[in-house]
Each structure stands twice: as structure tokens, then as C-alpha cells.
Symmetry: C2
Amino acid sequence: MVPLLQKEGFPVQAVWGRTQEEAESLASELDIPFSTSKTDDVLLHPEVHLVCILTPPPHTRQIAVKALGIGKNVISEQAATLTDACKMVTAARYYPQLMSIMGNSLRFLPAFVQMKRLLGEGYCGNLQVCEARVYGGSLLSQSYGWAWEELMGGGGLHTVGSCIIDLLSHLTGRRAVRVHGMLRTFVRQGGPAGGIRSVTADDYACFQLLMNGGVVCSVTLNFNLPGTDVHEIMLVGSSGRLIARGTELYGQRASMQVEELLLSDGGEGVGPSVRGLNSMVTQLRLSFQAQEDRRSWARHPVSMAASFEDGLYVQTVVDAIKRSNRTGEWESVEVKIQDIDPNHNHRTLPN
Amino acid sequence: MVPLLQKEGFPVQAVWGRTQEEAESLASELDIPFSTSKTDDVLLHPEVHLVCILTPPPHTRQIAVKALGIGKNVISEQAATLTDACKMVTAARYYPQLMSIMGNSLRFLPAFVQMKRLLGEGYCGNLQVCEARVYGGSLLSQSYGWAWEELMGGGGLHTVGSCIIDLLSHLTGRRAVRVHGMLRTFVRQGGPAGGIRSVTADDYACFQLLMNGGVVCSVTLNFNLPGTDVHEIMLVGSSGRLIARGTELYGQRASMQVEELLLSDGGEGVGPSVRGLNSMVTQLRLSFQAQEDRRSWARHPVSMAASFEDGLYVQTVVDAIKRSNRTGEWESVEVKIQDIDPNHNHRTLPN
């Protein structure tokens, strides 16, 4: 992300790394004047006005809430738990003058921007079904880390599924009312010498979302397919369909014999997430340029971005899918900020 | 099917049509000496030794049971109900010297024959997930008929899903223990002048089968995609995957960077069902030639074919999926021939 920000003219002032060595190495490689292994040093840095949070999910909430409290704008990845997502929304509501957006770059991918526009123009007629498939290799880090642990925000559903759930809501303008899901961890052990650590995070997820208005979404994620890179979203309506494959968009109205290529993005091997990130940073810059006062970004938010409220919705759906996986039943999606048990997840989420 | 049988040297002696005119037209077109609109006339015809039942599902059981009772060999499509499937199994058990097989031609498609062989040879390692997708245009007949009615054996789940459920069991050598499903009828009305008749048969189905041994199958059927013809089955295991797209077979072991084409069938636009039917009829002929006494076919059955017992299993799974669609819960699959309520489905299944 740093090179993308720099390319768009954002001066990247400070970088955080897990260790001082990692931070210094990143700073040197990316030409960043300040590096640290303490997140507070970044947040308190006087030249830092926008904080991009790309840390392990269990740290996300704490950094996001603190950054807003210090008066910094925030782009954040999904937090680890529903409690965290609630606290982030509370902070975002408390500092409405600051920018607080989720970093789901898929919303900015040109294929999905055009898909949303065409859907709105009636290309598909009445929307019936959305199908999403993401297949790829293992999401596990080489050495043991948060990605291995379900409760720390690891797993295909939390990391990739979150982006798809957000995207489907963004594209269709609808939210899930009830969900059903099935999660599996097929690769249950790993480690450099094999069999050392157990994995609790899912590597396969199959879930259905019933959206308001009767639209059905079906999503399949499988990260046991090394050497594959399938990223496909299909919207089917009464009079046509739109299909995004990777960074390309295809369409077929009911009257057509064959698909038409609607957008060839020429990504040259760059996947949808990276390509989307590129567009997101460009939008950030445009949003930035459109304003005289840098600190009032929030008054002209990056209109396509997901808000922290959207992040709470996504986390609520993710939790409902996990609940459905345990109960075997359809679970209701009720987005609420109150009534969160303050002791919930204490063991896994120490302050 | 008649031209395929004739091409393989089977003399087709009699044909049934819904009306005498239709029967005569078929007989004339296909060069068949005898035609009738009464099914009994075919069954009792002295030159008929093998009866291929391709009638509307509500007639299937009656014809199949009667044909076996008269001493004729039978190839049958899926019956309309579980009660019917039970009665067919009872008849097949009562006449073990006669051939009684289900007409699911997908089992005979060369791509699936090779897929089953490679799976058995360990191409995929430990099997984890099967994904099946069938997308196409409407299954409804032009004018109102059984295909419009769920209780008469219409709908994507019953007609196409049955073949997929049978195929997945055949390929993996496993059976579904529990199932979950969601059915929809998006096109709810139809007719030559529009809006005349209501449709109860599903045009969208999304279901999951938990197979013994922990294998997960996920199937999506969507018949609201005119101008599309997707027929894809993917088996994913610990060390590789096999993918049948239409009549072609692809594979990728975990060590490979790209997919390999394992079988290019050169179907020239012929879909998997028709191509499979071709192979099935060829197998029938080979099975036929391997025997001196035509009446003892059952002693050398067409080994790949689905038995009526397999048909009962498939119907049991279909019923469990329909039940799950109503209850929203995972439903157990318990194949049993006894304890069928004799009054069940009486309204929809008059003798």
C-alpha cells in the first residue's frame, strides 16, 4: 500500500513494524523518514494525519479508536470481533469530523464500480441471485500467527468472506436478513516441521445470505486450491446477468446468445484486491485534492468506501454465519450497537 | 435416444407417444414398425425385450413395475416420488433376473469415467470437497405440463439435481448422511399468453450434502440463465483436484502451477447428458454382445449403471433437501424401503 500512496503523492511519514528491525527495514526499503515498533509513536507523530491500519485483527480496534481520539483520520481493516466492531462504530460516531472508513478495496475495483452502475440502470432486471466464488491457496502464514486462529480474526470467512459480504451489500444496496453457513478446517495442523501447531481458522466456507427484497446470495470460499486464483461474482436477474471474473466484467442480457466483455481491466496478473486498492488510493487522492482544509475530509468522504457502520454490519453477518455453522440453523442478522456483553471475548481480546 | 439405440444395432420395435398422432409421427420419422398411445401395447409387444422409460415422472413407476412383472428389462428415468421409488425397488428385487437400471447417463460420460478412475488412483489425495454447478435456460415446457409442478417431478432439483446427486455418490463411493438446501421459484407464472398458469417447480436450488467420511458436497442449480450452458463438477482433495467442464476433464495436482487438460472429448457442442447417453447405449450393446442368452442380462449388468436401489437413495436425498427447504434445518438421509405410509402422496399419485 505504501508505494500506491506515494505514487499518488501522499507523503508517507511513519511506518510501524512488529519489531524495530522489521520497521527499520520497511522504512529503508520504502523511503519513509520514521519507523517504530510502537503503534503509539505513529499515532502521536505530528506529521501523521491519516492512519492506515494493516495490523493483525486483534490490534485493529485499539489502534483505530485511539487514532480517532487523537484526531487522526483512519482507514482500517476488519477488526477481530463484534465487540471490537461496536467500539469502532462508537468512536466513529463520536468523531464525525474525522474520516473513518474500512479498507475493503473491492468496492473500488473498476469492474465492480461498473457492475453497480449497470445493475442500477436495470441491466439485470429484477435481481434474483448473487453467486460468489473465491478459490486459492492457503491463507496461513508460514509461521504460526493470528491467521491460524479463528478467534483472532483468522480464516477465509473473516478475511476474504468479509470483503465479499461487504461487496454484495454495496452492489445490491441490500442487507442480509438471515444467513446459513458451513465452515470447515481441512488443514488442521501445520508448522515448519509439520504437525506442530493446530489450526482453528476455516479454510473452506459455504454460506447463503437471504437479503431483503428476496435476493439470495450464495458464497463459496476454498483455500485448499494452491496454484488457483478464482475470484468470481455473478449477479443474476430476470432479464440478464453480470459476471466479474478477476478484474474483468462480463454481461449477458436474456436476449443475447453469448456473453459480452464489458470491461477488460488489463490488470496484467494483478488480482482484484490489489487492483481495487490502487483505485481506492486514487479516489483518496481525488477526495483529498477536492478540499482546501485537509482536516475536514470527513465532510467530503470517499463516497464509495465502507463506513465503520458497514464494518459492524459485516462483522454481525460473519458472527451469524459462525453461529449457523454451530447450530446448523438459519440465523437472523440483527445489527445493534447496544447490548454487547462487555465480558464477551475477554479471554481472546485483552485490552 | 432411438437413433442412438439404432446406431448400436438395437432394433427398436415399438414406440409410445402421448397421442396416437404423436406416436405415428415418431414411428414414421424414426423408422419404428409399431406405434401406440397405450403403454400396455408396448409392454405386451412380443418383440420388446428392453423397455426404455422416458415418460413424464408420474407414469414412470407404473410402467417400470408392470414391465418387470411381464418379464421385460427396464431402463428408467427417476420416478416422481419416494413411494414410487420404493415400489420400483421392490419390483427390481422381486425380478433379479431382469435388468433394472436408472437412465442417468452422466455416469457413462468419458470425463466422469476417467474422473472416477483418477480419484481412485489417488490423484486428489484425501477428498475434501465436491462442488457442482449447472446453469442454463428454463426447464419449463412451452405449454403447461409436469415440468411446471413440483409434486409431479418437475423442477431443477428433481430433474437435474437427481443426476448430480447420483453422480457425486458414484464418483466418490460415498453417500449423503445429512443435507441442507434452499429452493426458489423465481419465474412463478408462465403460459403462451403470459401469466396464465402458476409454476411450483424450482428454477433455483442451492444445497449441501455431508457425505460419510467427512466429504462436503455443494451444488448450485440455476435455470434462469438463458443462453448459458455451464455444467461443472469439481472434486478437491488434499493433494489435487479434478474438474469436469461440460464433456472435458481438467486436473491440477497441488504441485502444478497450472491445470492440465486430461480429456478433451470433442463433443462438438453436444452437452454432457447427450454425450453420456451415447456412451451408455454403447455400453449396453457391449453388455448385450457379451452374452449368449439375451434374457440373462441381469447376470452381467451394465456395471457402471445406477440400480433402482441407487434411484431410491437419490429420491431420498431429493426429498430430504425439499424437507430442509421447508424446515430450514439439516435433514438426515435415511434410505428405507419399509415404513412408507401407503396413503402418502395419494392425491398426487393416483394409480
